[in-house]
């Protein structure tokens, strides 16, 4: 007869159990939120409908740069767009992007009441605000600076000596980067401050559009047609003071008869204005999420 083997069997508990392993912690949460927001600003990882506006705006932003490349291919030594006046153009795509995307950055969380989910994790309220601001600012920086890269290449090719061109215009590089970052950061802070007022997408969009597009003609009229105290209107219109700041960074001067020129303020004032708006927006957003009911 065989020796009885000792065989064993086990039943495994597949029920709910706690987790004792490694937890990635607060910093990981912040960076995850940052990347997630950045990606969804451009519609990556979301449904096709959310990609339309960002892609359309990116295309609009790149048009002159691509046009410059085309010109470089055909005709040489023609510099249609310089970094400085490109920034004047890019204000419009930036405004469009803010109007389309700013309501989505925090609006979705506010609408769908997922804020409480975020705040009950390792993430603190401030971290949430900072991550969102940083992501939105990064998205806008992409919009302001990427076309500049293409532009440099385009202009360099137009001058037939790319490397030489870069060496010549080296000084422009920190100016370009500074301008792009400033514009993006300020727009991000203020537009998020506006958009975080209301969960309704429609109202947020209108408010952002109003800030960009309604102040513009009003500032124009007040400055050029009225003068006097009206000249202060250049400080309320983002298109004007952003342009003024860029001009100061690039040591340029405003076109004749433009509101900036008529207003006649020294251009460094606009640099301060940009900083002030950005700081105010930043402080507001942080405070808003410190206090929001979630």
């Amino acid at each position: 007869m065989q020796q009885a083997e000792s065989r064993t069997g086990s039943i495994y508990d597949l029920g709910y159990r706690g987790y004792d392993g490694l937890r990635l912690g607060r910093r990981h949460a912040i960076t995850s939120l940052y990347w997630y927001t950045l990606r969804s600003a451009f519609g990556i990882g979301r449904r096709t409908g959310s990609k339309i506006m960002p892609i359309a705006i990116v295309i609009i932003a790149f048009i002159p740069a691509v046009g410059q490349l085309a010109i470089a291919a055909l005709v040489s030594n023609v510099e249609v767009y310089t970094p400085s006046n490109y920034f004047a153009y890019i204000e419009i795509p930036v405004a469009l992007f803010c109007a389309a995307i700013a309501p989505e950055i925090c609006g979705r969380d506010m609408r769908q009441r997922t804020l409480s989910l975020y705040f009950s994790r390792a993430l603190h309220r401030r971290d949430y605000a900072l991550a969102k601001l940083a992501a939105f600012a990064t998205a806008l920086t992409f919009l302001t600076l990427m076309p500049q890269v293409v532009l440099v290449i385009g202009n360099g090719l137009a001058s037939k000596d790319l490397w030489g061109y870069i060496q010549d215009n080296w000084a422009d590089l920190p100016r370009t980067i500074g301008s792009g970052l400033l514009m993006a950061a300020m727009a991000a802070c203020v537009c998020l401050a506006i958009a975080s007022q209301t969960p309704r997408r429609a109202y947020a969009t209108i408010a952002v559009v109003a800030w960009f597009l309604i102040t513009w003609p009003i500032a124009g009229i007040l400055t050029t047609e009225i003068g006097g105290a009206g000249k202060l209107a250049t400080f309320i219109s983002p298109f004007e003071f952003m342009h003024g700041c860029t001009l100061w960074i690039f040591n340029g001067s405003p076109t004749v008869d433009s509101p900036l020129e008529v207003a006649g303020y020294p251009l460094w004032v606009y640099f301060i204005t940009v900083l002030a708006y950005g700081a105010a927006g930043f402080a507001y957003v942080v405070r808003r999420f410190d206090r929001i009911a979630a």
Binding site: T205, I206, A210, I214, P217, I218, I221, E225, I226
Partner: protein, 249 residues
């Protein structure tokens, strides 16, 4: 095709809720402030007051900014908020012809827009022109704005039924189509409600071209205005009749 007084009352209470009305009225007062500033220290050399009033204050600020924006807010909210909040089902499950619902809502949106725009037009016009010959400028713009409000509201009302992105579509239309594209291509003025309004205004006042020169002539503007209004209202009827409830949870 009638108006239902209950719907009118309901819509009035909805649209003229505190925040929205106050914001719109504040917005309407911006041109008035600008006119005030003009009176106080304006550059009277470059534009004489008539020209400034007509071309700058009334045409650009009131008709170009206050009118479309107000019509956008009221026109899209009249039915838009009902769809968003889910109360549209309450209205639509009653034995009321869809055309009646559209017309009642349009009436309120139009009325609200007209009030705001007139609050903007008259003080602005009279302030800017105080002491100068009137030549019917302000009244002409006021009447034209009333028509313009109807066209805009009808169009935006239709948009709010046809799509959930009516607001953004309307914004793009007003600022890009009517603001930028119309300056690029000559034919676009035939498709711009702003130009219809300005054309009607031009027809109603008798001033030299240097004072005010609309891109569209009066008769053309009137015909196109009626056409577009009619089409917009008809489209709104159609869209509401075919409206289907969206995917809810």
């Amino acid at each position: 095709m009638m108006i239902d007084s209950t719907i009118v009352r309901l819509t009035m209470r909805q649209l003229l809720g505190q925040k929205r009305t106050i914001l719109m009225l504040a917005f309407a007062l911006i041109p008035v402030l600008v006119a005030l500033l003009y009176r106080l220290n304006g550059d009277h050399v470059r534009h004489d007051p008539q020209e400034w009033t007509a071309t700058v204050a009334l045409a650009r600020l009131v008709v170009g900014l206050v009118l479309p924006f107000t019509a956008l807010v009221f026109g899209t909210a009249a039915l838009g908020t009902e769809f968003e909040d889910g109360t549209a089902v309450y209205l639509l499950s009653k034995p009321i012809p869809r055309s009646t619902i559209v017309l009642s809502k349009l009436l309120v949106a139009w009325g609200a827009t007209v009030v705001v725009v007139l609050v903007s037009t008259f003080p602005t016009g009279f302030l800017a022109l105080s002491g100068e010959p009137q030549d019917g400028i302000v009244v002409a713009f006021a009447i034209a704005a009333v028509f313009g409000a109807l066209i805009y509201c009808a169009a935006f009302l239709w948009l709010s039924i046809a799509t959930s992105r009516a607001l953004i579509a309307g914004l793009l239309y007003v600022f890009i189509w009517e603001g930028v594209v119309v300056n690029l291509f000559k034919g676009v003025r035939l498709f711009s409600v702003r130009q219809y309004t300005l054309g009607i205004a031009g027809e109603l006042m008798s001033v030299p071209k240097r004072v005010f020169d609309p891109r569209l002539q009066g008769p053309t503007a009137i015909v196109l205005a009626c056409l577009v209004t009619g089409v917009a209202i008809w489209l709104a009827f159609r869209s509401l009749k075919r409206w289907e409830i969206g995917e809810t949870s």
